[in-house]
Amino acid sequence: MKNIITYIFKSVGLAVLILGSTLTASALTTSSSTIEVFVIEPDSLGSDSIQPKSRKGYSSLTVWANQSSNVITTGFARSLAQGGFISHEILDPVLNRHIGNMGHLGGSAGFEYSWTGKVAEGKEWSLCGTVGSEMLVDTRWTSDAFELMWYGNGGHTGRVDILSGTGMRAALFNRFSLGAHNNFTGQRFEISLIQRLAGAEWSIPYGYFWVSDDADSLDTYIQTEGRIHALNDSTFLPAYGIGVSGKVPLTPVGSALRVEVDFRDLGILFEPEGSKVYWLDEGIATTGLPVLGDSLTWENIIDGNVSTDSLIQTGNSVSRMVLLPTKLSLKLNYELQENLMFSASLTTGGWMPEPLISVGLGWVVSDELSVGVKIKDGGWGGSRPVVWAQYKITDKRFISVSLEDPRGLFINSESSDSFKARGISIRLQRAPD
């Protein structure tokens, strides 16, 4: 009992430390992640896990792809894909969904193989590792930028259109991790070598556009920066980084409540020099005020009579360190009944603009089949349903399938027009002996 209490205090302390570090990292970069979290873990802790016996380890292979947005519906995306005239009837609902003045669209796709080595009888630690690859895409824009692009400025003169915060980034990360798995507590710590094989980013840190009510004055300013992580001959410019990943279960023995803190890719990416970098810093203002001689006008600007505050630069980047797309998850499972389980999770980071919250129920239908449903909210998207099922193929092997906003998967069908997210995740896993 004393060991368990010590273990709980150590785990909580470690979790707090990691949480603090991750939140700091999140404040410096936006972060993300998308690996589906299943309610029922065959690797769950039980009283017999405290005294491990010699047995085979755990392994799983997960493949996933998901995308979500808080404003872009399948219908709108389909309209863009099909082409043709985009009318205000199509645009108005999208614009009206920009709650909080920001639109997001992002997602990830990839695979991950995770394993734990053979558990020797009486041994506390086992070797574990992970190999995976993940493509991350994160785009975000202000509602003003959206309106300026699709509607023009004519309908809202006199208003300052905020462009700051608009941007996109995409990158392909490969990771290889090795670490140790505690056979008594289920704790897992890995050191990861992470490769960013390719990537690009563009952002407007500061920008606005303003035309006065009567359109007699114009004032606009934009600072923007773009980076393509490739060499001049368009070959990839990989970057490498070091991170730590792991999980810390916080489950008292005999309790129906299971809590787990996961952290992933907490570390630094060392970006080499040579990425193509583009900067634009442009300001134009027309006062429209009476002055002796001509006032500042668009005409004067075009004629070159007015020196605008303009700076355009291109070049190659110097080496730098950036944060990895760190992700932190806090998961909670509670066994309501023998065959009914409540689950909740809070995930932040992984380039997601907002924390991702998930709440759901799982039902053990039979010895072979479990099913469940969840509601997700946040990340790049709004509220959307998730359904999942887990099937026991053999005594130790399971297959799990999770569908995020399933109706959104029917991209070419009008029935999915109003949906803004879609995703699928498949996991094959082998439970330890």
């Binding site: 082409g83 205000h88 692009m149 023009g152 002796l292």
Partner: protein
């Protein structure tokens, strides 16, 4: 797993099929942007220096402060290039004299009278400061030894130091004489031409010293056949200031100056009540001046004036120690009764021309050689005119042109909005033409009337015009011509704050296509 693969294949197939026969994406945006915002006031066509804004509702004034240069430096004394030659011989000594090296064997102090100064009969100089010039000193010696020589203009100083030159004259040989030369820059040199007595004129004092050089290895001798040929040349003198008597100089002048030519008012009516015009003769030299005008014309219209064409004597200015203490002036009222000056001004002349003579020292050497002149302060004529801005006009008073550059406005459907705001206290009619840069030279024109405004009370008269435009007329760009016409009923007072604001905006929708 097989089902999953099938599912992925289906998604890819659907995605690919959706790309077939895809139409170009297009959408419509609405733009409303400023193109031109121009303020056209008096400053647009009257230079700032020609208008004096009326304060607290007073009528503005057209102001002309012109300078007519009638001298152009012709009164300044001149110093012609001068060459002085001297031969120093040793007389009829019967024997050869050893040349000493301990003390000068030639020590000659002279005062030279320079008669060529100024060139005006009766004139003389007591002091000169030259802005530039040089002295070239050349000496040839038949003496068979090396001589150390110095030549100084003891009455000439630069910054207090006597001007001079030291030379080493080589020994003469059987075949050639010893020759040495040197140049002294006389920039800013002060010439005291009063001689050793201090009361003389045109006198320059010199000192010539020769001594045997210590470089000689043997004693050498000067015979009665030996001599030194000394040449002093003064070149390229320009006078900065002079003191003396400059003589009775008569200079003809024929000068012209631009006047209020930059006020293009059509059929102008100018109310000259309260107008002031005066011609001021400003004497800045320390000598009496007499100015006689033969003709004064404005745009070739001759001035008629009861007193202007007489003799105008102006007393000398007061100089002391090279400083101008007090100028002297003579004012002539150009608008006095009997003058047609303002009649000539009403037609907004462009050029004023004066022909006459300027006479220096008309009463002779009354200063007893204390005339003073500095080339940086020469006499001038100032013509000062102030005319209240009570003006009438009939016709086009303003033509402005604005360029609309070619721009990408796909399927544009909109209009150019033209606002004209006027604070001029007269009615204006505005004609706006948009000439498209297309092959046909399409012209779209509109007209509008602007009522009475007032800069004093802040009343802004407004006129609005609208030019429909499409992609065909806006994409090639073009020129917008704004013409303002005025027809006043007689002269109207202006404060100088009046202006017309021309504001052109573009409003409409365009179709963006990928």
């Amino acid at each position: 797993m097989r089902n999953f693969i099938l599912f992925v294949v289906c998604i890819v197939a659907v995605s690919l099929s959706s790309c077939v026969d895809r139409e170009p994406l297009s959408w419509e945006t609405e733009i409303f942007l400023p193109l031109v915002d121009d303020h056209i006031g008096w400053a647009s066509y009257v230079p700032d220096s020609l208008i004096e804004i009326g304060e607290e509702g007073e009528v503005a004034k057209l102001v002309f402060n012109g300078v007519i240069d009638v001298v152009s430096g012709e009164l300044v004394p001149t110093l012609p290039d001068t060459t002085l030659q001297d031969i120093v011989a040793f007389g009829s000594a019967p024997i050869s004299i050893p040349v000493p090296i301990e003390y000068p064997f030639i020590n000659k102090q002279e005062e030279m009278l320079i008669s060529s100064l100024s060139g005006t009969e009766g004139s003389y100089m007591r002091e000169l400061v030259v802005a530039s010039g040089e002295m070239i000193f050349t000496v040839e010696s038949s003496i068979s030894g090396i001589l150390d020589m110095s030549y100084h203009l003891t009455s000439v100083t630069i910054d207090g130091d006597v001007v001079g030159i030291d030379l080493v004259i080589p020994a003469a040989t059987d075949s050639e004489t010893g020759f040495a030369t040197g140049t002294v820059n006389l920039e800013n040199a002060l010439f005291d031409l009063t001689g050793s007595s201090g009361v003389g004129n045109n006198i320059m004092s010199t000192s010539f010293i020769a001594i045997g050089s210590t470089e000689n290895e043997e004693i050498f001798y000067a015979t009665n056949l030996d001599s030194l040929w000394v040449t002093v040349e003064f070149h390229d003198f320009t006078v900065q200031s002079a003191q003396g008597y400059f003589g009775n100089v008569v200079v003809d002048f024929d000068s012209e100056s631009s006047i209020i030519d930059s006020i293009p008012v059509p059929n102008p009516v100018l109310d000259i009540e309260g107008a002031v015009a005066k011609l001021t003769i400003e004497n800045t030299i320390g000598a009496d001046l007499r100015l006689t005008f033969n003709t004064l014309s404005l745009d070739e219209q001759n001035l008629q004036h009861p007193t202007f064409f007489g003799v105008h004597d102006v007393a000398r200015a007061h100089w002391s120690d090279g400083q101008l203490i007090e100028k002297t002036f003579l004012e002539i009222d150009m608008g006095e009764v009997g003058s047609n000056f303002f009649d000539l001004i009403e037609s907004f002349p462009e050029v004023i021309r004066g022909i006459g003579t300027l006479e220096l020292n008309p009463f002779g050497d009354v200063s007893l050689g204390n005339d003073y002149l500095d080339v940086d302060a020469t006499p001038l004529l100032h013509l000062d005119i102030e005319i209240p801005l009570r003006l009438g006009a009939e016709g086009v008073i303003l033509e402005e042109q604005y360029t609309i550059d070619p721009a990408d406005f796909p399927q544009f459907d909109g209009r150019l909005l033209i606002d004209l705001y006027s604070t001029f206290p007269v009615s204006l009619s505005a004609d706006v033409e948009y000439v498209v840069n297309d092959t046909l030279g399409t012209i779209v024109s509109v007209s509008s009337e602007i009522g009475l405004g007032s800069s004093l009370t802040g009343v802004i008269a407004h006129a609005f015009a609208e030019i429909p435009i499409s992609q065909a007329t806006v994409e090639p760009g073009g020129e917008i011509f704004v013409t303002l016409n005025v027809n006043t009923d007689g002269a109207v007072p202006f404060t100088g704050y009046e202006d017309v604001r021309v504001q052109i905006r573009i409003e409409g929708t365009q179709l963006i296509e990928e």
